[in-house]
């Protein structure tokens, strides 16, 4: 029986009640098994130019050749919990556990964007909201998404901040009052006239939160909002959440990075395979040790200090550096950068200027820096993929121009969507072996072995774009491993990974670095600790 909202408030009803909610995707999943056999048997008659991929990397036994069917449907099963007004609830669990699906049912994206069967109910102050279309739910429930790049509709910051309120047809003076209050509170005055395309990920995410907050919804949902943020970005996000909490906003945060938000959490819901596995208080979360959290498959709830480094190496950019080692000291496997410089066409100052810097061979090197300092640009420059970068690299006894370096490098880009080129996970992996001299059977075995290690073996026939963010990252990582290049470059490879898959990736990287040079940029302090990488700090002065 439905009650009026005011009656519900008087009865001290929870602001949000998830009542026995279940969900099954109903989109037909194509059975591609037959097609797959045919494709493997007939495709790619390839010539060999390079050595075999390192099969010894993958310590599991070769499984029998398998043709799996796509099983990436997600189901929620009997989810029930209630949320009191003003609470901050953390929803966590492995990627693919159903966090995002749950949030999407609450904010109405499901069923608007996906077909499926919803059972149970979502009650806002005692009243069902399941039937309310997504655009009307926006006044009750605000949503902040994972990818800051794809959630702004306007080009200028000020237009974006007003956008939600304009959609609600609020009077101009009310919108101006709300926006100016937020702008003042979060010191955004200097941003108002800026182009959103030119902001860093952290700044974009802040604008996204404020644009939603301007609509003043009583509930806010966040779907992995920290994925693209550095430590400073996460602190700023936590500060926003704190202010909203003080203002009495109810917040639901789906996240697997716990450290930045753990101080604010009132309750934690741990999900697994579409079910609620645990539901405990924020105090308990804060009291659990790292080891206990690990046993639950969760990441650390405390801010992880960057590992101490005994290498006093600091890349200062764009300040020039003196020659530290001299080219005569370097080992052939070392990567020695000579006078790297990169300038954007319109800027007078170079974005990067690195004079003589050496990355030792057969090791893992981690570049750390705040958002927007130039880590990604430096990595792309070293990989020979940045046209505007100029300079030389000494490697294996030769001096190469930067752009020639692409022959030695394989790269996991920050946005992996742009590097998945084929129509199935299997073909994507096979494409990386195109230049290998292995037989088709050997390739097949190696692909399945690696897919199994990275837990992609159930998705071999799935289209890469049907995978979740974390799965795509694992796939891109697998494709670069199979290319078996002497230099492996990774740009924020763990932004979408849960603990389990981060550990797997760290193990593989440690193994790979025994005879390859690994260079990665990351904000992920937990990953750095696990890898025991050499830390190089990129500083913008």
């Amino acid at each position: 029986m439905k009650k009026s909202i005011s009656a519900a408030i008087e009865e001290n009803e929870p602001i949000l009640l998830i009542d026995n909610l279940s969900f099954t995707y109903e989109e037909p999943i194509m059975d591609l098994a037959d097609w797959y056999d045919e494709e493997v048997a007939t495709s790619h008659t390839l010539t060999a130019t390079r050595g075999m991929a390192p099969a010894e990397l993958f310590d599991e036994e070769l499984p029998k050749s398998q043709t799996s069917t796509a099983e990436n449907e997600m189901t929620l099963k009997d989810i029930s919990f209630s949320v009191e007004a003003g609470e901050l609830i953390l929803i966590t669990g492995e990627s693919g556990c159903g966090k995002t699906t749950l949030l999407q049912i609450i904010n109405g994206i499901i069923p608007e964007f996906s077909n499926g069967r919803i059972e149970g109910d979502v009650l806002f102050r005692g009243e069902s909201i399941i039937g309310i279309p997504v655009d009307r739910r926006g006044t009750l429930i605000g949503s902040v998404f994972q990818n800051p790049r794809s959630q702004f509709f306007n080009v200028l910051v000020k237009d974006e901040l007003r956008f939600g309120c304009e959609n609600l047809n609020l009077p101009v003076d009310v919108i101006e009052k709300r926006v100016s209050m937020l702008v003042k509170e979060f010191q955004m005055e200097s941003y108002l006239e800026r182009n959103l395309f030119h902001l860093s990920g952290g700044e974009k995410q802040k604008v996204a939160c404020l644009s939603v907050a301007a609509m003043q919804p009583p509930i806010m949902l966040y779907d992995e909002p920290s994925s693209n943020l550095d430590a400073a970005g996460m602190r700023s996000l936590a500060q926003l959440m704190q202010v909203f909490k003080l203002a009495g906003v109810t917040q639901l945060v789906a996240e697997h990075r716990l450290s930045y938000v753990s101080g604010l959490v009132d309750r934690v819901i741990v999900m697994k395979d579409g079910k609620i596995e645990e539901n405990f208080s924020g105090d308990r979360l804060r009291s659990l040790s790292v080891e206990q959290l690990r046993q639950m498959g969760l990441r650390s709830s405390r801010a992880v200090q960057p590992p101490a480094t005994d290498h006093p190496l600091v890349i200062r950019s764009p300040i020039e550096q003196k020659n530290r080692t001299g080219t005569q000291d370097i080992d052939p496997e070392d990567l020695y950068i000579e006078s790297l410089e990169m300038t954007y066409s319109k800027a007078a100052q170079p974005l990067l200027r690195i004079k003589d810097y050496c990355f030792k061979g057969n090791r893992i090197h981690a570049l750390v820096a705040g958002n927007g300092v130039g880590k990604s640009t430096l990595l792309r420059s070293i990989a020979g993929l940045e046209k505007r970068a100029k300079g030389y690299v000494h490697y294996r006894g030769q001096r190469y121009k930067l752009k020639q370096m692409s022959r030695f490098c394989s790269v996991v880009f920050q946005d992996v969507n742009r590097q998945l080129l084929t129509d199935s996970v299997y073909n994507e992996l096979l494409l990386s072996l195109e230049e290998s001299d292995m037989s088709l059977k050997e390739k097949d075995e190696l692909i399945i072995l690696l897919a199994k290690r990275l837990e992609l073996d159930h998705f071999l026939d799935a289209h890469p774009f049907s995978l979740s963010g974390g799965q795509k990252q694992r796939l891109a990582f697998a494709t670069t491993l199979l290319m078996n290049q002497p230099i492996l470059i990774l740009d924020e490879p763990t932004s979408g990974l849960d603990l389990k898959h981060m550990v797997i990736m760290a193990e593989i990287l440690a193994e790979y670095a025994k005879n390859h040079l690994v260079l990665l940029a990351t904000h992920d302090q937990e990953l750095l600790r696990m890898l025991g990488a050499e830390i190089h700090e990129l500083i913008n002065e």
């Binding site: 655009d135 926006g138 006044t139 509709f153 959609n167 609600l168 609020l170 394989s410 880009f413």
Partner: protein
């Protein structure tokens, strides 16, 4: 300038400039209309854009400059054809770019909804403003990925179809993914085809807006009359 007067220019200039009878009957007007985007650029202080516009217009008129006749007479016909196309299209394209650059999405949506254009069309077309920079960024990223996967040069020539597929599939899927996420985020912030939106820009057309709209109307009228009286071959 009001979005309605911008749209009036945006429709009028390409329409009349692409019409052969109009160009033959009113050469002076054609010159004036060609200069209009330039004046707009100078008014907005887009010096670089104005420079490029002058250069392109100069190059496209090269065959008409008597002093350069010895050169232009020897130009092969495909280049002459290209120059003619450039001549006809440049003012229209320039006006289009200027409209895109000077109009915010809200202004566009509100302007069109006041013109009683169905909200479905307005919202769908408004995404264009957001999508040009997106497609550009995605394209650069995919080019890098192809280079990293060694899918360039000779290989691309040997397997052009496959290569085309590698290039286009991620571009389409990635941009459509962004499109999906964008529409989710917009709907969650209450963007709706049914509700009225707040309008920041004043609804009133100013004096110069009226002048632009009236002049555009007259030009379209003139174009129609020219078409009617033009001798048929």
């Amino acid at each position: 300038m009001n979005i309605r007067s911008k749209l009036a220019i945006g429709i009028t200039i390409p329409t009349v400039m692409l019409s052969a009878p109009f160009r033959q009957a009113w050469p002076v007007l054609v010159w004036l209309l060609s200069a209009l985007p330039l004046i707009w650029m100078l008014f907005l202080k887009r010096w670089r854009m104005a420079g490029i516009y002058i250069l392109v217009m100069f190059l496209s008129h090269i065959e008409r400059i008597p002093a350069l006749e010895p050169l232009s007479l020897h130009l092969p016909w495909p280049i002459l054809l290209f120059l003619t196309i450039l001549q006809l299209c440049t003012p229209g394209i320039a006006v289009g770019i200027l409209i895109l650059q000077t109009t915010s999405i809200s202004e566009y949506i509100n302007g069109l909804s006041r013109m009683r254009i169905p909200a479905g069309i307005t919202l769908a077309t408004s995404v264009i403003f957001r999508f040009f920079p997106t497609i550009r960024a995605e394209n650069i990223g995919i080019k890098r990925a192809l280079r990293m996967r060694r899918l360039t040069g000779l290989k691309a020539l040997h397997h052009p179809l496959k290569f085309f597929n590698y290039r286009l599939t991620p571009l389409l899927l990635s941009t459509s993914g962004i499109g999906d996420e964008l529409s989710m985020a917009s709907l969650c912030r209450g963007l709706s085809t049914e509700r009225k939106r707040t309008s920041y820009e004043s609804d009133n057309l100013r004096f110069y807006d009226w002048i632009i709209i009236v002049l555009s109307g007259l030009l379209i009228l003139l174009w129609l009359v020219t078409l009617l009286v033009a001798p048929r071959k």
